[in-house]
């Protein structure tokens, strides 16, 4: 029987920049898996140039559950126009950028890591509410806080053919789940889809993007994945 760590992370505002937006930054609704690598790296104090070394070759599985309804807002930022600023810091004139933010976000993170040292250190730090570097959701001003929920035993269920209620976000372009395996008929659900980065090489070249389906208010989604994970609490999730 495997184990995983559960913790909540939240902030007043968050911004996970969509890689295909340049001048008007839009945000994903959920933190990409690679962002969570960075946050875990900051908690553990891994160097920002090296933390990705610890998350290569599928060593880390992460599930993301949306706890607060996804709300987006725009904040107009008055930034330095670096085209005319010497050293990018001597302000000649400014440029106003409409930036999309998420508001009052809270996510539950399911965390597994093959490296016991990383896993146990994270468990200890979450439990003691310690973080080596300051953590934020996407941008430095989105300072975040976290809470350890617990360590749970988890069973991997293979060759599933039943409909189950999944608490976490779902990847639909995988060999264990496709769009047809999701029951979109539940009336009180809002379904959204984003394509987010999942894996990244140490030089920050993204090697895997995933098509993610999630429910906007954080409700469960009924689906029929061939493979899923069941916690000792009975909660069911998919790990990215």
């Amino acid at each position: 029987m495997d184990k995983l760590l559960l913790f909540d992370i939240w902030a007043d505002y968050a911004h996970f920049k969509k890689y295909y937006t340049t001048t008007s930054p839009l945000t994903f609704a959920i933190p990409p898996k690679t962002t969570l690598y960075g946050i875990v790296g900051a908690i553990l104090g891994l160097d920002k140039e090296e933390y990705l070394d610890y998350f290569q070759d599928g060593k880390c599985n992460i599930g993301i559950e949306i706890k607060n309804p996804i709300k987006k807002t725009r904040i107009n930022l008055n930034l330095i126009n670096t085209k005319s600023a010497k050293l990018m810091s001597r302000i000649d004139n400014r440029t106003q950028i409409k930036t999309e933010y998420l508001k009052d976000v809270r996510y539950r993170v399911y965390f597994q890591h093959q490296d016991d040292e990383i896993y146990n250190k994270l468990k200890k730090y979450l439990f003691e509410h310690k973080s080596v570097y300051s953590i934020s959701l996407g941008l430095s001003e989105n300072l975040a806080n976290f809470e350890f929920i617990g360590e749970y035993e988890v069973a991997e269920i293979d060759n599933n053919e039943d409909w189950i209620d999944v608490a976490s976000v779902l990847r639909v372009d995988s060999d264990y789940l496709s769009k047809g395996d999701i029951d979109f008929s539940q009336g009180d659900r809002e379904y959204y889809s984003d394509k987010v980065a999942l894996e990244m090489k140490p030089d920050r070249e993204v090697t895997d993007y995933g098509q993610i389906i999630f429910e906007g208010n954080g409700k469960s989604i009924r689906a029929k994945p061939k493979k899923y994970y069941e916690l000792e609490t009975g909660d069911k999730c998919l790990l990215l």
């Binding site: 807002t73 107009n76 050293l87 810091s89 001597r90 730090y125 509410h129 300051s134 989105n142 806080n145």
Partner: protein, 304 residues
Amino acid sequence: MSTVDKRSELVFLYDIKDANPNGDPLDADKPRIDEETGINLVTDVRLKRTIRDYLFDYKDYNGKDGKDIFVREIKNDDGSIQDGKMRAKDFKEDPEKVLESCIDVRLFGGVIPLSGDSITYTGPVQFQMGRSLHKVELEYIKGTGAFASGSGKSKKTFREEYVVPYSLIGFYGIVNENAAQETELTEEDVDLLIEGMWKGTKNLITRSKIGQTPRLLLRVNYSEENFFIGELKNYIKLVSEKREEEIRDVDDYKLDITALINILKSNDDKVESVDYLVNPRVDFVNDGDEVSLKDLDKFTEIEL
């Protein structure tokens, strides 16, 4: 000068009356409002600007004697030597030198462009977006300007603006001792940061910011390595008999610090001390009783 070696968290409250704490440049320069909740917003960069300008104007971080501000308005430069190309070149070739002279890079980090590449320093000091502790209503003011809108006209132009009648704004920030090693942030720098927050807020004497008054500043210092409580500002509640939108003065409410005292107490073994600055007109309540910060365990007033 010793490098910062302990984690601390900051809470800073200041208020403003009949003015505009942070205009939205893409929305008629209105004060920023979270439309869903009626809460007034101030960006973290506005506060950082206040601190930088104070250190530049009053603390000699103006490019002389190896003391400088990295991110600043060109119009603030008072001499041709300082913005000369030579000096920019000096910086460009030596990021160490930027770190050594620019207090704002040591505090807030920065990106230093090099030919073909750049160096990024993560700031040990970070602030959240500032938020008012109560709902505010915008007021629209119209008046007569001092000048005509063009030459040859006989009438003066009208001017219009939006202000908040009153807003008590709260900032939460964190000082990270591990990131401080990278930028060699010293305790003296943090003292100047605190002075800049307090006095810089008072010293903004432009029309839209005049009357801003710092009301409370807390710095909670931790003895336990890497530990922090987080979101300290949220442990302070504003209590008033008036409707939130009707608050017009610091006399109209009290600050309930019961939750703050409780969370500090429950982490007693990890909290080393609490430094504070307070404006005498602020009233605090703990568990229903009036309380003074100087009577609290571990609290010490900062001398500016």
